[in-house]
Symmetry: C2
Subunit: 77 residues, 2 copies
Amino acid sequence: MPSTTPKKILAANVRRIRNSTGLSQEALADRAGMHRTYISSVERAERNVSLETLFAIAVALGVDPTELIAAPDDGEV
Amino acid sequence: MPSTTPKKILAANVRRIRNSTGLSQEALADRAGMHRTYISSVERAERNVSLETLFAIAVALGVDPTELIAAPDDGEV
DNA sequence: CTGTGACTTTTAGTCCGTT
DNA sequence: AAACGGACTAAAAGTCACA
């Protein structure tokens, strides 16, 4: 059982989804109306983002906000 | 049609779930390690809570964090 | 028990860089 | 393209008195 913190869950989800879309951190930041360094920081699990920011990132990634905080599905057959 | 903001979604979900558990704002605040007035403020959609706070409230309510930001299900059967 | 405005402290989020 | 640091500003956390 991993010491899975909210920040780590978000970080992993953002990075995974962003990579799957082929966007760079810069491009994502731009879409979400944020700074490049901030997205970088979020993906390193250093940031405790606000609700509005969470939704903004979700929109920029084209996913539902709930996907960003969904716990990693360990046993997905 | 709804000008459904993240704050409103959270507010509605917290209040609905809290009421369904029979907890008072005070009791919930206590469980979540927060102040009574803070929960009140969240339920009035005045607060743009952080990720950690979101998770803390979810734990206190005994639900998954994703439930707190799930959009209201309009056409539920 | 809950709403509300005012308030101080802490942190989210920006922007300048270098590696 | 991305990690990382410092300094800064905007906003969230957290509390209180009173309705």
